[in-house]
Symmetry: C2
Subunit: 356 residues, 2 copies
């Protein structure tokens, strides 16, 4: 089993902690370690360091240098630009197949939070076993604990149950982020799980599906395969990435494929999509506040206050997010943290790019 | 006429802009110039630079050095420690009398805002004329435009009107800061004015009142007078200030004296007591916001946002104050800005004194 960590994200939702030069996976949003370190720690015992691969963008090379002692240099796969997950996984599949035509790959975002690690490992190993036995895609679905509107859902066929000794379900449909009524009905039905964005399959299975559903991408990947280990490799990747369109594995492959199984993950998972989610998932004090760094809160409740390099004081407010990173500060109503990207866009328009 | 600017205040209400090392009068809170510069500009045309005196604390000498080109060095009067306004004015009176026994002095706080300068000057000149003609105290009362609870009030005897050709009133009582019902009745009665903290009188009249009402202070001032122009002067001031008690001119003299006249000032005045007041007095944009420095406001109204050295973003909030000074940030509900001193106290308790 190989782990392919998709670490090319940029993400503006955690501004001002996340910046163009420091993306979300390099932040220690929950816990002391950064999200990418947590992801590496999560997969290393499962696949061994020799089977860990990281896909990132060329522009992020400097940031990844810190991991070169831990992961062989050849296991960093750089894309010249972001084209969403389908090409990213395709590139990794081509590279894995070069040395191991039967490679089974677990692809995962680099910047999610997972608690209950033993359960997580059990799910990944089960998914890996299924993917090894059969020409199938395996996805990890998370048992929802609330009618979340920020996640995609997977509808499973409750009738099925066991494949090769592993508890799994046939996937009926993938559903986009629902509105709250739909989310409630999903939760009540009991056969909808959150789409974790973690997939397990053989590289060959993936590439065959790309050939069928995304022929342009397949042609590009073949061109890259031809150039592997040759001096023209960088130019080939550059040329292909310029031409192919951005498309996700969910939309481009999963929704069009019938042979998808789902392993039900009963571990705690979050995509950490906003400061509000971080507040929800963090341990709170008696006033419902999450505070880190030098901060003073007076008559303030249900808030998330973080100061890195400096001090923050909050007086008389409830349900706010205040994040200070040196001399850059975000002050946001708790239920508006999804819109932090608007702030980043506005900064760019105001020629304050240096703060983004 | 001499102007005596009482500039020894420290003030924590404008934290984080005001600090132990940078008191309110050195801030450009409204307008480009600092409050002390505005005060100097206000009085220079009235008394000439040769008649301007500043009373401050010894610890502030370095901050006042910037004005030494503008005001003779001998016109800076330093107190070894703060003992409120009665001793401060007494020390200035003794020093003015040394060269001009008939000196008429206008004493004024250094950190207030005054608009409508021609009207202000007219009031001061009228008060000066009265103080020169008669052994009387003259105070400047401000016509109130709302039932403010943050100011002291002066009740005038509406029956009187003209003294030596100047429109003025006998003062019946000085009233402490009222609650809102009392403030409303004051406003309705029409014979209550705000106490501006600006007084005009002959130095000799003041010292005579001190002799009568504050004999301990009078003894101390005599001791200082004996030491004037002698090497023991600094030690004498130090010794006297250690012994005398803190007491304001309002409480120690004005409330006990019957011969007080009041000139009615119809200029706009504010003691700038909080960020909320600054917001009220500043020009607002279409959303009711006052914004300065690099800031981005999204769906935010009726707020005061200021950034000095850095950037601030506010998203989805109404009626908040956000003030960032480098890497120190205050976030405060608009109607809680009077309590900013609680934040400063809390910072001290948390050993974060370096930020106060």
């Amino acid at each position: 089993l190989y782990a392919v960590i998709m670490a090319g994200g940029s993400g503006t939702r955690f501004w001002p902690r996340s910046r163009e030069s420091k993306s979300k996976q390099f932040l220690n949003i929950i816990g002391k370690k950064t999200l990418i370190e947590q992801t590496l720690d999560r997969f290393t015992p499962l696949v061994g360091r020799e089977n860990l691969y990281i896909v990132a963008k060329s522009g992020q090379k400097a940031q990844f240098r810190q991991f070169t002692g831990r992961i062989p240099r050849s296991h960093f796969i750089y894309e010249p630009m972001g084209k969403d997950t389908a090409p990213c996984i395709g590139l990794a599949a081509v590279i894995l197949q070069r040395s191991d035509p039967d490679a089974v790959m677990a692809v995962t975002p680099a910047d999610h939070l997972i608690l209950d690690l033993p359960r997580f490992r059990k799910s990944i190993l089960a998914a890996g076993q299924l993917a090894r036995e059969e020409d199938t895609f395996v996805t990890l679905g998370i048992v929802p604990d609330r009618p979340a509107t920020g996640y995609g859902y997977i509808q499973i066929d409750g009738g099925q149950g066991s494949f090769y000794g592993v508890e799994a379900f046939r996937v009926k449909t993938f559903a986009e982020k629902p509105n709250v009524e739909t989310a409630r009905s999903f939760l009540e039905s009991g056969d909808f799980l959150w789409n974790s964005g973690i997939f397990v399959f053989r590289a060959s299975v993936y590439l065959k599906a790309v050939e069928e559903h995304l022929p342009d991408l397949y042609d590009g990947l073949c061109e890259i395969r031809e150039a592997l280990d040759k001096p023209e490799y960088p130019r080939a990747v550059q040329r292909v990435y310029k031409q192919i369109r951005s498309i996700s594995i969910d939309f481009g492959i999963m929704e069009k494929t019938s042979n998808v199984l789902c392993v039900r993950g009963d571990f705690r998972w979050s995509d950490l999509g906003s400061w509000e989610q971080v507040h929800k998932l963090s341990e709170k004090d008696g006033q419902g506040n999450v505070v880190s760094g030098d901060a003073v809160l007076v008559d303030t409740t249900q808030s998330y206050v973080r100061s890195d390099g400096g001090v923050v004081a909050v007086l008389g407010l409830d349900r706010v997010v205040v994040v200070q990173e040196d001399n850059v500060t975000l002050v946001c109503r708790m239920d508006r943290t999804e819109d932090v990207k608007q702030v980043v866009e506005r900064l760019k328009r105001k020629k304050l790019d240096s703060y983004t």
